[in-house]
Amino acid sequence: MLTKLANPSTFLRWSGALLPWLAGLTVATLGIGLWMAWFVAPADYQQGETIRIMYIHVPAAWLALFLYAMMSASAIGTLVWRHPLADVSQKAAAPIGAAFTLVCLITGALWGKPMWGTYWVWDARLTSVLVLFLVYAGIIALWRTIEDPSRAARAVAILTLVGALNLPIVKFSVDWWNTLHQPASVFRMDGPTIYPTMLYPLLVMALGVTFLALTMHMYAMRTEVYRRRVRTLSILEAERLDERRLAA
C-alpha cells in the first residue's frame, strides 16, 4: 500500500488531489489562529501587546524541529530503501526548515528587544537555534554541491543523521554553557503554566503553521519530482542528438 502510494507518478496524482484541500485547511486554521491571536487572546499584564509575537515565534520553533525530524526520517528512507521519493522529501524539507528556523530567530530578536533590551543574547536556547540554522545551511550547501541527485541525497542523508545525533548534544552542551532564557512552559510534567486564553490561540496557530509547512513541503516535493523529470528528459534528448550527429 505504502510502496504503491510512494511511486512518483502515483504520488503526483494523489498529492495533486490532496493539495487544494490541504491548502484550504491551512488558510482556515491560520485564519482562525491569527484572528484568535489578534483579537481573542488578551495582552499580557507585563509584556503588553508584544506577547502576540509568541503566536508566530513558538510555532516557528516547533516547525524548525519538526521539519528536521521529517528530514531525518526521509534520510533513513534514502539510506535503507534507496527510495527516490525519500530523496525528494529530504530535499524539499531542508529550505522550509531553514526558513522556519530563520523566522524563529528573527521574531525572537524582535521580541527580545522590548523584553530583554537587546536583539541578541548568547543564551542557551537562542544559541541552539542558531546552531540548528547553521546545520540547515550546511545541508542546503551540500545539496547544491553534488550534481547527481541520488548521490547528493545519500551524502545529505548521512549528514542529516549525524546532525540528528549531534543536535541533542549541542543542546545539552549549550545549556551547560549558559542559560538565561525562561524554562519550557507548555510541555511540562505538571501541565501547562500558560493561561488557557493564551494557550488555545497558540495551539491553533501551531496547527495552522504545521498545515502550512505540510502544504509547502508537498508542493516542493511535486516541483522536485517534475525537476528530476526535466533533468532526465534533457539528458535523454542530449544523448539522442549525439547519436544522430554520430550517425550523420
Binding site: 547553521l134 548521512i158 552542551s173
Partner: protein, 221 residues
C-alpha cells in the same frame, strides 16, 4: 592488524614528505595565536583570561587543515578503491587514516599548547589544563571532520563546504574543552566533570565518525 598499522605508517610518511601537510597545522595554530593579540591589544591580563579559548579555537581551525585531502587524495589516485577492496573493513581503514591525521595535527597541537600558552600569558596550571583537554578533545574534532571529509571526498574544491559542514558539529567539543580548561584554573565546577563529558564526546564521535565516514565513502561510489 598489520594492514592497519601499514596504513597508519603510510599516511604518516605521506604527511611528512613533499606535498604533505604534516606541520602546516602547527604553523597555522601559531598564526592564530599570534593574530588574536593584534586584534585585541597586548593586554596580558585579558589574554591570560581568554587564553584557553584562543588556544582551543586555534585547535578547532587547525584541525581543518589538510582535512579536505584526508580521503580525496586517495580517491583521486585510486588507492581508496584498493583499500575498499582489501580484506580490512572500511571502518578500520577510516580509523587508521583518522589516527594518522590526528598524530600529525591534533597531537602536535596538544604538545605545543604550553609553548603557545606563554604567548597569551597562561600560568602553569592553565598550560597543563589546556594540554590535557586538547589531548582528550582533539580526537573528537578529527573524527567529526572525517565524516565531512568522506562526504566531500569526490567534490572538487570541497574544502570550504567541508568547514561549513563540520564546524557546527564541533561546538560541543569546543564548549567542554574550554570549560574544562577554565575549571582547572578555579571556579565552582570541578575540573573532572567537564573533562569526563569531553572524554565521552570523544568516545561517541569515535564510533559515529568511523561508521559515518565509512558509510559516506561506500555511498559515494
Amino acid at each position: 592488524m598489520s594492514a592497519f598499522l601499514a596504513l597508519v605508517r603510510r599516511d604518516l610518511k605521506l604527511s611528512a614528505r613533499v606535498g604533505g601537510s604534516g606541520w602546516l597545522g602547527l604553523v597555522f595554530f601559531l598564526m592564530i595565536v599570534t593574530l588574536v593579540p593584534f586584534g585585541l591589544g597586548p593586554d596580558l591580563n585579558l589574554l591570560s583570561r581568554i587564553g584557553p579559548a584562543i588556544l582551543w579555537i586555534g585547535a578547532v581551525l587547525a584541525t581543518l587543515i589538510g582535512l579536505d585531502r584526508l580521503f580525496q587524495a586517495d580517491e583521486e589516485d585510486g588507492s581508496l578503491d584498493l583499500m575498499t577492496a582489501s580484506p580490512l573493513p572500511l571502518e578500520l581503514v577510516v580509523l587508521a587514516k583518522v589516527i594518522a591525521h590526528w598524530l600529525t595535527t591534533g597531537l602536535p597541537l596538544a604538545l605545543a599548547a604550553p609553548l603557545f600558552g606563554l604567548l597569551v600569558a597562561l600560568d602553569g596550571v592553565g598550560m597543563a589544563a589546556v594540554s590535557v583537554t586538547l589531548l582528550v578533545g582533539t580526537p573528537a574534532l578529527t573524527f567529526i571532520g572525517a565524516v565531512g571529509a568522506a562526504l566531500t571526498a569526490t567534490i572538487r574544491r570541497g574544502g570550504l563546504i567541508l568547514a561549513i559542514l563540520v564546524l557546527p558539529l564541533m561546538i560541543p567539543t569546543l564548549i567542554f574543552g574550554v570549560s574544562a580548561a577554565n575549571a582547572a584554573r578555579g571556579g565552582d565546577i570541578p575540573f573532572g566533570t567537564p573533562l569526563m563529558i569531553l572524554a565521552a564526546i570523544t568516545l561517541v564521535t569515535a564510533v559515529v565518525g568511523t561508521v559515518g565516514a565509512a558509510l559516506a565513502l561506500r555511498q559515494g561510489e
